[in-house]
Symmetry: C2
Subunit: 550 residues, 2 copies
């Protein structure tokens, strides 16, 4: 008997386009399993233990295009064994290391509808109702941010929410493009058309500087700003060095240094395209003093952009909303729906206080996004885009403001509890106090902590470096074991002579993460650390401590 | 009896995160229906007749965030009635107006797996096997483009396909970001670091021009280039006016004019960042003479970028591959997977011939995409991204090269047949001959065609304007009826004194579109046109014809 093989034929083509997999096919079974028991599917199929990247790669070395087709079941088996099995269990309540978290169950069938419809939101001809739907979602988020300011009332939103010529915001694939869009608009508005100059959009940055009399163009943000801001400065032609980094006090922007840097930039005839406030830094979850920043922005007439990719949904919580006071004075605000709005990767938004702001980046063409059309593509950086707004709409309605408020309150509350557990332990050090639902910490055995206290700055530096090694190795070992996951980062710790140190970083966004799980994570890290301290890492730390003794 | 209402509670939260909808819930039923009979689901739920945009918008005016949660079933019903019903049937074989087409059945359960896993491909810690998987897919496409050139052999691909420091290409959300990425790299490579200058990436465009002694920075493309190139010039700080538009001969770039424009730009001391060849123009599907362009690029040392968003998969076809001769000499090539690789919206790629090219845009940060890591986010314009590469991988394997070849051959063959039907009819005029699977045409009643033949240029212009009105109205009426769909565009027709005319535009990518359906589309358009000719549109056209008589 010969093995059945898939063949390229019109019949094969017709089948893959029109006939679903049979009820007993591998894919159909997976489909049902995910619908009925997502957690079970992930648990059964993801192998927790990490393989070396080099080993992982072996299954993905083939660079030749397969000549012949294969059966869907073959591909499904390959994916299950080689891809799904070796993926990351982002939905696990013990996976608290990154901003990618569990998604509510209903998102899955909804996402399936979205993909089945395969709309393209670049223009109304390929998206119909998805166009006003997306505008509505942007309107709701806009109102969440700005709706308590004078003038941002029912009448304002009635006028603008479905306006055919202007937009309150734009969707995109995620925070990086969202930040880029905010700065793009800020740049184009600052270098606006004037006599003999058609605007930076038409004439470019060089002509723009000449026309407006600037010698440089800069953007300001605290040193905790997200790396996408640097990337945006690169892309926009400003250069990464022209992202002026402002000092922080306890991980929040130092307003005095901000004023100083603005004065310096003005003195060298730099045009300040924007100053960026961070509402929830990526590393520690801190919020810049947005209201004070807004004062500075107003005083100097600078575009105020807020990176709320992570933190903007804190506005759902009446209790924690005040942490973001001043955000309503920002000219632009970004938010990532795949973070604290709990939709699947990837959906970001940039909102603009002024409904005319996006005019500065408007594009048109003959075959698409024609002038006067309602096409969303007129204002987006991307062209073709999926109907992710449908999932955001569903989250907003199924959870409601109160549902999101509970999620926010739970996360911040849990971070506070976790911080207390860490502080109460002898061998963990809380390195940043949580303001939102993020915190950082590290493992410091009690004997090293004692040494650190009395050590000279020079000796302490050596101890901290050894602790950084330890932290990195604990994190890697924990990740490789695959039962729990925290991430790590590295920044200057004010409490340790501002020495750059590696720390564990935790993001508490999964409502299923319990206090017990948090305890288990600390137990596992403690165990790994103790094992490591028996080896070379321990010798290095002990030597550093010994050298610190007077 | 009081109506049951959803309430914000820990229990509600726990449920939406952990418990699937019951088997008899609305969403579960939709889920099953889509799995078992996608075509039936779309047919049953999408209302074909178009509603006025203004009417559509009425369901999406509310800007206040709902306070309380709602049941998933309520949201599902809303979406079915107001969104799904009023969406576009992009999978219909009679929807041949845009580049969004049917997707093979197996893409749906696979997309569900992708979303269930919710990986973030920005870094290996949140994507594991998805990282080498994506690199492999990029390698396969790279080899499809470059694999027949000397040196691009097994050894080359073994060395680079999973290289941890460099990349053969990058994924992104779609063609616009893909083109932007290509030009970003070209810009950064041209304005590379030199003495006293850290490179445009660090120091910006202004310093870059000074350092390299340019007075301007430009990109060249034919006038049929996609609008995203203009947008990219805006974003990159070059300015849209610095996209130098080159004339065309029969919708392909005029090499003589290209040489002329290059000489002009050099004379004014402009740095030429890139020249862009189009492999499948958006409007007519024509392919620039890529090999001749490559000669020019080599001669002048200019970065040669090919926009193959639509046309690059033509390389799968041994028969039509020669149309793209010269693409293997391009420095960068883009391709959209959601177009002729038949994955859902949105996935694009930019491929670079030189594995070191992407070094010019590399980014790193402390908490992510660390130096020396395999993290894909080091080279992508976007940050967080979904695992779309899994769907591309599946398409490449389930269909195989031969399967894609059949799709390409079918589409181009069908376009040729459709062109013949149009040419054989008395009342349709083929306005562009198909080269790939796109063509344009318009309705011209025989009496108007006779007038046009003998008319003076001035009189012909009036007739053509009346015909453009007619075309636009036929297209809008056809769209509103919702049974069939073609798009429209407007460009200069060489056969009509290069007058800009509105024409129907057809994209033949759905393998289920039959000759019979094409005949029905013409019949419907003929009927609509005849009805319109009985009214004001007809009077205008008749008046224009009467005025043309000697």
């Amino acid at each position: 008997m010969t093995q059945k093989r898939a063949e390229a034929s019109l019949e094969h083509l017709r089948r893959v386009f029109t006939v679903p997999e049979g009820d007993d096919s591998t894919l159909a079974r997976i489909d049902r399993e995910i619908s009925r028991n997502l957690a079970g599917f992930l648990k059964d199929h993801i192998v927790s233990e990490e393989r070396e990247p080099a080993k992982l790669e072996r299954d993905f070395m083939e660079s030749s295009m397969p000549e012949d087709p294969c059966f869907v079941s073959e591909e499904a088996r390959f994916l299950l064994e080689k891809v799904v099995a070796q993926s990351v269990h982002t939905a696990s309540p013990a996976f608290i290391g990154h901003m990618t978290s569990a998604i509510p169950y209903f998102m899955l069938p909804l996402a399936k509808i979205m993909i089945a419809l395969n709309q393209n939101t670049v223009k109304i001809e390929t998206s119909k109702a998805f166009t006003p739907l997306e505008s509505q979602v942007l309107g709701i988020l806009h109102r969440l941010v700005y709706g308590r300011s004078p003038g941002f009332n029912d009448g304002f939103y009635r006028k603008w929410i479905q306006n055919r010529d202007h937009a309150l915001g734009v969707f995109c694939s995620g925070g990086t493009v969202a930040n880029l869009t905010g700065l793009w608009v800020a740049r184009n508005r600052m270098l606006a058309p004037r006599e003999g100059f058609a605007g930076v959009s038409e004439d470019g940055v060089i002509a723009g500087m000449r026309a407006w009399g600037f010698d440089h163009l800069v953007v300001l943000v605290s040193k905790r700003g997200h790396y996408s801001l640097k990337k945006s400065c690169d892309v926009l032609g400003l250069g990464k060095r022209n992202l002026v980094v402002v000092d922080t006090i306890n991980h929040r922007i130092d307003i005095a240094d901000l004023r100083r840097k603005i004065a310096e930039q003005k003195a060298r005839r730099a045009g300040i395209i924007a100053m960026v406030g961070v509402a929830g830094t990526t590393e520690t979850g801190h919020v810049d003093p947005l209201d004070e920043m807004a004062d500075v922005a107003t005083e100097h007439g600078i575009h105020f952009h807020v990176d709320g990719a992570w933190g903007a949904p804190t506005l759902f919580s009446e209790r924690y909303r005040p942490l973001l006071k001043g955000i309503e004075r920002a000219d632009s605000v970004i938010v990532d729906a795949h973070k604290q709005l709990y939709v699947p990767v990837g959906a970001g938004m940039t909102l603009f206080k002024d409904p005319l702001a996006l005019d500065s980046v408007e594009q048109t063409a003959q075959y698409i996004i024609r002038k006067g059309s309602r096409d969303l593509g007129k204002h987006t950086l991307e062209g073709t885009r999926p109907g992710m707004a449908m999932l955001v709409h569903s989250g907003l309605h199924v959870l409601g403001r109160k549902g999101y408020e509970m999620l926010i309150d739970l996360g911040i509350g849990k971070a506070g509890q976790f911080a207390k557990i860490i502080q109460a332990s002898d061998d963990f050090e809380l390195t940043t106090e949580p303001e939102l639902n993020l915190l950082t910490y590290r493992y410091v055995p009690d004997w090293a902590r004692d040494c650190l206290k009395s050590a000279s700055p020079h000796a302490a530096a050596r101890i901290n470096d050894a602790l950084s090694d330890l932290t990195e190795q604990v994190q890697k070992t924990e990740r490789a074991r695959g039962k729990t996951f925290v991430s790590r980062t590295r920044f200057e710790l004010p409490q340790h002579h501002s020495q750059p140190c590696t720390v564990f970083r935790v993001v508490l966004a999964n409502p299923l993460t319990t206090r017990q799980i948090l305890g288990e994570i600390l137990d596992e890290q403690r165990q790994i650390a103790k094992d490591l301290l028996d080896g070379a890492t321990g010798r290095k730390l002990r030597a550093a401590c010994a050298a610190a003794k007077p």
